[in-house]
Structure formats: C-alpha cells, structure tokens
C-alpha cells in the first residue's frame, strides 16, 4: 500500500509540475505577444495618445517626437507610423476580446472552486448510486437466471403456451425501451426530453450520469459475469454440502429476501449467495478505477454537450474557445486530482479487503 501511495504521490507531483510549467510558459508567451520585436517601439508603447484615430493628436505626438529626438525626422516618421499601426491593432484586439479574455485571478479561482465542488458533489453522488445500482441490478439478474434454470430443470413441459408468450410482450417492450435509455449517450436522452423538462439542473445531471452513456449496464454486466464465474467455483459445492440455503426464490424462507437484495449493504446470511457475492464484490472493487474514469468522462460529456452554464467542464469548453488556456490548465488539474483521489481510495479499499482474507 505504501508503494502504491508513493506512486500516486509521484504522479500527482509530476503532472502538477508539468501543468504549472505549461501555465507559466503560456503566461510569458501572452506577455510577449503584446510587446513588439522592435526595442525602440517598445519604449514608445506607453506614449499617451487618447484617440489614435484623431489626425490632430497624431500630428501633435509626431511633433513631440521630432522635438524629443531631433535630426532623425525620416526615422521618426517610419517609427511613428509603425507605432500607430501597433496601437490600432492592440486596440482592436482588446475590443474583440473585451468580453472573453480572462486571466487566472483570485476571484476566478474562487468561482472555479465553487464549480469544482459542485462537480465533485455530482461525481460522488453518481458514483454511490452506480455502485449500488450495478450490484443490485447484477444480483437481480443473477437470481432470476438461477431461478429460471431451477424452473426448467424441475418442469417437464418444455413448450411455452401462447398466453405466456403474449404476457411476455410488454416485458420485452419495456426491456427494449430500458436498453435504449441505458445505451443512449446523455445528449441524445437530454435533447429528446428537453422540451418538457429542464435538463440544466444538477439533479438532472446526476440522473443522466447514472442512467445514460451505458455506464450502469456495462458495469452491472461485469458484476454479473463475476457472480456467474464465482458460482462455478468449488467452494459453492462445499457450501451446499454444508447445508447452506440455496433456493433462488424471493418469497420462501430459505430463499433470498427482497429487502436484503435492495439493501445498500448486501448480506445474505445462511445463503450460498452471501459467499458468491463477497468474492464477486472483491473483484468488482478492482474495476472501480475504470468505472470512475468512465463516469467522469460521462459527466464531462453531459456538462459540455448540454452547455450547462456555470458548471466546471462547460466553463473549460468556454475557456478553450476563448483561448484562456491558463484557466483550462487549472480545470484539467482539478479533474486529474479527482481521478487520482479515486485511485487512492480504490487502492485502499482493495488493500483492506486483501488484509481481511490474508488474516
């Protein structure tokens, strides 16, 4: 664990230093952009001309220059016309970027911190909801799968009646719609209901984060696979020999109570599923890093694609557009820290789980 933690710390220090170096480089480049290559011209840049388009003021300034540097009229003329052009260009650029140019100030950092906290809040909530949803959905699928197998093996009639086929149609339709929603990218889902609901709130962002982009279905399928693999391990047979409950029904005493299935802390005391779940859960923890990265990608897509004003990654997109790269770098650094923090927490959880079984 110590080595892992050190590796993470080195990574944080390395990336922070690289990004700070890029930020300093960008700031120095921005300063250089405003100055001219001509040293003589640079010295004159601060010459006060209140209206550079006024011919009288231009003539006055030129006369002043000729008095200040006598005997160099031709040189002064060319230098002055260059100065006027440069001042005009700077003035136009300033006007064009008046509403978009921003630099990294204390006020900006405070405003970014607020957005960052909101992003982290949404991230933690979505992470917890998907953590719960992935396991519950996978367990539900697994129990249904085992139930179906039990029913097939106990029933002698393999054919399906017309009634049961008809009854299955609404379920199939619901499944198609559910899969359509779960596999939709967030922007498709959000735009399709935007006329009826306000999709720009944090609540909606959380909802989309959980349900869309294929996150829930992908990882619940992963967990389901872990459960299926664990079911075929030798210890399950040993547990059955030791008379652990093995009914997959939810409405019998020796089965799996629905409450235990829906409970955030899943325990199936006296049932073989308890052991299957615990072993699958340990493997699932190892995939949380991957899930977290996918989740952050999903949240970024939601904020950026839906143009949710005042949110962190929408702000990043805006700053990329306005070429305020110093602010972009700070936001990227913030997202990187969030991923690294998740990595550290996941490694700690894995370490704790391993210690439990090693002792």
């Amino acid at each position: 664990m110590k080595n892992k933690l050190l590796e993470h710390l080195y990574g944080i220090v390395f990336v922070t230093s690289i990004l700070i170096a890029v930020l300093l480089l960008f700031n120095s480049n921005r300063k250089n952009e405003t100055s001219s290559r001509n040293v003589e011209l640079n010295a004159l840049l601060d010459m006060p001309i209140s209206n550079i388009n006024d011919a009288f003021q231009q003539a006055l300034a030129e006369d002043a220059m000729n008095i200040f540097y006598p005997g160099k009229k031709q040189h002064n003329d060319s230098l002055f016309s260059e100065l006027i052009q440069l001042k005009k260009a700077r003035y136009t650029t300033k006007l064009q970027r008046a509403h978009v140019a921003q630099s990294l100030s204390f006020e900006k950092l405070v405003s970014l911190s607020g957005m960052y906290l909101n992003f982290i809040f949404a991230y933690i909530i979505v992470m917890l909801l998907t953590y719960y949803g992935v396991q519950t959905l996978a367990l539900w699928r697994f129990i249904r799968h085992r139930n179906t197998i039990d029913q097939i093996s106990s029933s002698h009639n393999s054919g399906r009646s017309v009634k049961s086929i008809l009854a299955a149609i609404p379920v199939k339709l619901f499944k198609i719609i559910a899969y359509g929603v779960l596999f939709s990218p967030a922007y498709v889902l959000a735009y399709s209901i935007r006329t009826e609901f306000n999709t720009d709130s944090t609540f909606f962002m959380i909802l989309l984060g959980v349900l869309s982009n294929g996150l829930l279905i992908t990882y619940s399928n992963k967990f389901y696979t872990f459960l299926k693999i664990e079911y075929h391990r030798g210890y399950v047979e040993s547990a059955l020999v030791k008379n652990l409950a093995c009914s997959w029904k939810t409405d019998v005493p020796s089965g799996i109570p629905l409450g235990a299935l829906l409970h955030p802390r899943k325990r199936f005391k006296g049932h073989v599923l308890d052991h299957i779940y615990r072993n699958a859960h340990m493997q699932y923890i190892a995939t949380i890093k991957e899930q977290a990265s996918f989740l952050i990608t999903g949240l970024i897509i939601i904020e950026m694609a839906l143009n949710i004003h005042g949110h962190l990654t929408y702000e990043m997109l805006r700053q990329i557009l306005y070429k305020n790269y110093d602010i972009v770098i700070v936001i990227i650094l913030g997202i990187f820290y969030a991923v690294k923090a998740t990595d550290i927490v996941t490694d700690y959880l894995m370490h704790r789980e391993r210690l439990k079984y090693e002792n």
Partner: protein
C-alpha cells in the same frame, strides 16, 4: 429442412453472430426507409457520417492493437532488466495516461488536430483519419495493455512456460506466439470489439461537443463529418427535440419517422450500434467461454 433448423438454432445459440446479423439487417432496413422518406442531401450526409464514424472506430481498433502489443512487449522486456528504471518510468507514464479522463484527452487531441488542419498540415482529407485514430487509441490502449499483461502473468504461472524455456524456446516467441497469439487472441479480439464500441461512443461525443461548443474554432471543414457532428447540427437537434412532444401529444409519434427523420436516424444509428456492439461482445465471450 434439417439443415435450415440447424442453421437457425446455431445462429440463436451464437449470440455474437445473431447480433451481427441483427445489426446489419437493422442498418439496411433503416437505409431503405430513409431512401423512401428522407431527402437525398440529408441521406447522403447520414451515409457519409456513418462511414466516417465507423472507419475512424476501425482505425482506432487497429492502432490500439498495434500500440497495445508494442507497449506490452516493452513492459515485459523492461521488467526482466536488472535496471528497473525503464520499467518503472513506462508504468508511471501509463498510469498518468490512465488518470486523464478519455474524453478530455481526446478533446484536446482533436483541437490540436483541427488547428494543424487549419495550418494545412494534412495534405488530403484521408490523412486526418489516421491522426484521429492514433489520438484516440492513445487514451484507450491502456485497457488492452492490462488484458495482455494479465494473460501473460497467468500463463507464466503455469508449467508450460517453464517447460518451453527449458526446451530453449526464446522468451519473445513464447510471449508473442504461444501466449498472445495462440492462447489469447480470442480474448484480445473480444476486447477489440468493446474498444470499437468505446471508439464510436467517444468519437460521437467529442464531435458533438466540438460542434456545439467550439464551432467557431473547429468546424466541419477541418474535421470529417461524423454521426456526432451531424447530430449537433440544428436540423438534427430539432428532430431530437421533437421526441419530447410525444409526452403531450402521443399521436405525433408517427410524424417522428417521416418528418424528423435526419435526427432520429442519426440518434438511432448511434444507440442501436452501441447496443449491438455490446451484445456482440457479450455473445462472443459467451460462445468462446472467455
């Protein structure tokens, strides 16, 4: 007759083949529907967007395989060296790539590619495809490297590895041929199917974001048109927004498939393809017991 029954039952049991067939049939049926109801310029745009998206996703899968294999071999080689520094450095950089959310990495890479295209770095439109493929594969490759390293570690624990070493077979042949090619190619191929799906998803999302948020900086002339950028166009967006109207006016649903076809087609192509790729990958894993 018996052969036909066998064919269908085999197809039903091979879920990956079944879903590939469903995907192709779905796309073709949609194509026929669009030929009838969608105007020709819009239909041509959808076809171009579809082929561009899937070409880039295919290039991503190919580059990821190449890059992943190279990195795995490099890791394996440096791990056995007495000097641990190159191995640790390589792992360190891979972990840093892992910590950058894919969408952020791909977005920044695409902005750089678009700026390079503006400066005329890419001589023809087709040279931009590999550039986009490489950029995306850089942020996806880690998944494949993890799988390959896992496979190598698993086989190294078995007797056959030591037996082969004793027989004088070189390490690189054992890794490249016996472990990765002979015993892991199905796992690798299955991973590549899901990477293909991820590439479609990322491609569409990044193009949608770029087209919505960075349209003045990066436009469709610089980057090839894909399903994501098509969906971001105002007419497609309005088509998708029209779906919401069925909550208040359910009878409007019939109009969606005739009057709002461009946006609905693009959205359907994305969602349907993502689901089919997922189902193909699962079916493949199930059929080969991976």
């Amino acid at each position: 007759m018996k052969t036909d029954t066998n064919f269908f039952s085999r197809l039903y049991n091979s879920k990956d083949q079944l879903w590939t067939l469903i995907w192709i049939t779905g796309i073709l049926s949609l194509g026929i529907w669009d030929m009838v109801f969608l105007n020709k310029p819009a239909f041509n745009k959808v076809i171009t967007g579809f082929f561009n998206t899937f070409t880039i996703a295919f290039i991503v899968a190919v580059f990821t395989l190449f890059l992943g294999w190279m990195i795995t071999i490099a890791l394996n080689f440096t791990e056995r060296m007495k000097n641990r520094v190159p191995f640790l450095m390589l792992m360190f950089f891979l972990n840093i790539i892992r910590s950058v959310p894919q969408i952020v990495g791909v977005l920044i890479a695409y902005v750089i590619i678009a700026q390079a295209a503006t400066r005329g770095t890419f001589k023809s439109g087709f040279t931009i495809f590999p550039a986009m493929g490489i950029a995306m594969s850089l942020f996806i490759v880690i998944e494949l490297v993890d799988l390959m390293r896992e496979r190598i570690d698993h086989f190294k624990k078995l007797d056959f590895y030591n037996a082969m070493r004793v027989c004088g077979i070189s390490e690189s042949r054992i890794i490249n041929f016996h472990i990765l090619w002979k015993n892991s190619r199905l796992h690798i191929f299955n991973k590549l199917i899901s990477i293909f799906g991820s590439a479609v998803f990322l491609q569409c999302s990044v193009d949608f974001i770029i087209s919505v948020g960075l349209s003045s900086d990066v436009n469709s002339v610089m980057l090839p048109s894909t399903l994501g950028s098509l969906l971001a166009k105002i007419d497609s967006k309005q088509d998708i927004l029209a779906i919401g109207s069925i909550f208040t006016n359910p009878s409007y649903i019939t109009n969606l498939f005739t009057l709002h076809l461009q946006g609905i087609t693009v959205a359907f192509l994305i969602v349907f393809s993502l689901y089919c790729v997922y189902a193909i990958s699962n079916g493949f894993a199930e059929r080969h017991r991976l």
